[in-house]
Homo-oligomer: 380 residues x 2
């Protein structure tokens, strides 16, 4: 977060009943509504000093709240509100840092806060970090988690090839999301597998578990053994693919934002359904989440007049996803662990031979825990 | 799910290149696009017979796919596709059950699949279930989980007053969502609490953790001890409150759907942010999720010309939430556990005395696991 500096000698404070105006003297101006100021009062009767949580409810504030008086004393403003006779003190620094006229509306899930990538972005190397550094050095962990946030993935090297180690990796930044597959799941060829992931078939680019709501935000895959031929991993940026679709055909992009579809997974003990769009966007139409998994789209139940339109958009996106220029391919070797944002980064696997052994352990986690850890590391 | 019956003797099948038409002979008609039929092929080369997952990608299907021939044989249709020479067999029952012209677009999160309630809905009793029946009887568990789905909450009685039992309750239907508060959290008065929940203050109606994305879908609160004066629990239906807002002022409802805001929670080891709307709706503008917590709205960073509009809508919703006609109030006694949909049901607590002991243990889970368990119980 950039540090805002203020020059008290040049700024100018004025007010009307409904609004406080601060001319910062450098071309910037804040105009803050009386209701917003009262609602953001930082005094101990309005905010709990320990937790920082609001103690007042919006309905505790009179509907006709207004500013009665403002007084500046160095870097502090004292505001008297009426008709309740309440006094709030704000530091000018706080007002500058929190002013809704001047600060970005931060949305850490949106495409605008990420570095969208193509295969060529990683011509020299992929984002990687040694696991022991990840565990022992705050700087290394911050670097790795920032790579994850920017690019949506990072590879950890030299993760001990112990069964269950993937769960220890998660404890380094967040919490395990257990599912019907267990706290972790084994990826190796199974007889009568309940999911194609557990066969030796190739799998096209996809995101995991779109039939789950909420979808797990992070997937980790830890390679314990790999002596098969084939089985290479492919990653690609679903946000980049969606942004290319938007460039090539805005109507197709719109369709995948607006058409909700059913995903489903079913076995003897599980029956998961969701109804969600392929692309989620925020209020500024920025991409914040993609869901794409051809294997687990349920029976498509959409309005009859939308069927042709939906398939055209879906096909177009699938074609973009298959472009080699979007895909990085590498073989995950024993001791390597890839972790990726399962709301953004698609993964695929090439088919592998029946001879030899390929054994990965996978697990899920959530983005909020990782982002919290990264944010805390940045503050220290 | 209603069982569809078909009368083979009266139905009529016809086709064009682009569409299959089935007149079911009872006034119902299905018109199914060639691309949809090919994409939903149930043959073993298109669908894995064990997992039911699709083996083909949309890009494997020619863009000019069309129907070359259809043949009916009792309750089976054989469809020949061109230009790929592919043959699919569908049972007429399957087509009727999955036809997008005739079946509801199921969204189990939407208000339309719920029973929205007021205080008067529970004039005689709240939805309750004895815990030992919940564990031992599939019918009782189905009843309790269906109450949860319909009303958004259920109370379990006679849950053993053992520390940690709340985690065993979750194992009965799903999985624990661990957070920075731990796998479970203690609700009792703490010195220097990092969250107002852990004080003896009253708490207004709210949903938990809107600063977390994804938000935990289920909260459980298990009462172990209660000898204080006060501390009554209040529940109320946030979907009902939102639907009342929509009736009273559609523009206010729209504002809370469209205006995204920041929520935040911060302590020494945690820094959680989200940017989300108060109301989420699906593509039909049906409510699917509410987020409301006055304590943890971050610095409101919205477009300056939206501030007044937002506060008017927010205040209106807060006023509806405070209406007694929407609130059920009861005292949670030792051995009672309430579980509620944290995307819908607001909870509140009245302040309690410093004398006496009040000790609850709480934990979070997710809706998908519970809905899956309910769906599986209904099938058996």
């Amino acid at each position: 977060m950039p540090v805002n500096t203020i020059a008290i000698e040049v700024l100018n404070v004025s007010f009307t009943e409904n609004q406080l105006t601060i001319d910062w003297g450098d071309g910037r101006k804040s105009q803050l509504a009386a209701i917003w100021l009262r609602d953001h009062c930082q005094m101990p009767e309005s905010r709990d000093p320990i937790s920082g949580q609001r103690l007042l409810n919006i309905t505790d504030i009179p509907n006709d709240i207004h500013i009665a008086h403002v007084e500046q004393n160095n870097d502090m403003l004292t505001i008297d509100f009426a008709p309740e006779s309440h006094q709030s003190e704000f530091s000018l620094c706080w007002l500058l840092d929190n002013c809704y006229c001047l600060n970005r509306q931060a949305d850490d899930r949106s495409e605008t806060g990420k570095k969208l990538w193509l295969k060529s972005t990683f011509a020299t190397q992929l984002p990687r970090c040694h696991y022991h550094r990840f565990c022992d050095s705050a700087d290394s962990k911050r670097f790795a988690l920032q790579s994850f946030k920017d690019f949506g993935f990072v590879i950890l090297d030299d993760v001990p090839c112990h069964e269950g180690e993937v769960l220890n990796v998660i404890k380094q930044f967040g919490f395990v999301r257990e599912t019907n597959y267990g706290p972790l799941f084994e990826v190796r060829t199974k007889v009568d597998a309940n999911n194609l992931a557990f066969t030796n078939l190739g799998l096209g680019c996809h995101l995991d578990n779109p039939y789950r709501d909420p979808v797990p935000g992070i997937q980790l895959l830890h390679c314990l053994q790999s002596s098969t031929t084939g089985g290479e991993s492919i990653l690609q940026d679903g946000f980049m693919a969606a942004s290319i679709l938007r460039d090539e055909n805005p109507q197709h992009f719109e369709t995948l934002c607006q058409q909700w579809i059913n995903y489903r997974f079913q076995d003897a003990n599980t029956d998961l359904h969701s109804r969600v769009p392929m692309f989620e966007v925020n209020e500024k139409n920025e991409i914040i989440k993609v869901r794409y998994n051809n294997r687990s789209i349920g029976s498509l139940n959409i309005d009859p007049d939308q069927v042709t339109k939906f398939y055209a958009a879906y096909r177009h996106y699938a074609q973009i996803i298959e472009r080699e220029s979007l895909q990085v391919m590498f073989k995950l070797n024993p001791g390597e662990l890839m972790m990726f944002d399962n709301t953004r980064i698609m993964h695929a696997r090439r088919a592998y031979s029946k001879g030899g052994v390929r054994h990965l352990q996978g697990a899920y986690s959530d983005l909020d825990g990782l982002y919290s850890t990264l944010s805390t590391l940045k503050q220290h």
